[in-house]
């Protein structure tokens, strides 16, 4: 099973990389661009075939290693 994990900064946490991209898009001539937020994305191959167990396992991975839950949210998609 493959887990797809999106890690995003929580609302209110400053995102200077996102701001830089926002500025760069404006300089490149893209109009109507509002806020840009940058996050991280991970794909993890799992041996586990049970969806509920896989979700538990990936949740533990996010809490312990992949996301900094003080400032980041994570979203898990299995498939």
């Amino acid at each position: 099973m493959k887990a797809k994990i999106k890690v995003t900064l929580k609302t209110g946490v400053l995102d200077p990389q996102g701001k830089a991209i926002e500025g760069a898009l404006g300089h490149l001539g893209f109009g109507g661009v509002g806020e840009v937020r940058q996050g991280k994305y991970f794909e993890v191959e799992l041996a586990e075939t049970d969806k509920a167990k896989a979700r538990e396992q990936v949740k533990a991975m996010c809490e312990k290693l992949i996301a900094n839950t003080v400032i980041e949210n994570y979203d898990i998609e299995l498939g």
Copy 2:
């Protein structure tokens, strides 16, 4: 409209960050973990309300700035 963009390394491109996470997960006691690949994730707020035009605009942003199409793939989701 909000565009959600996933940028991933193309198959065959080495991913040392992913490998490091794979190793770290093993050290933390997570079993059955196969390949880990790290990518990037972006959320872009757009003034454009037409879905087809928004997709064209985001595609151009990816080609020009957000993704390095030599080594990366991108996937756009609008909503």
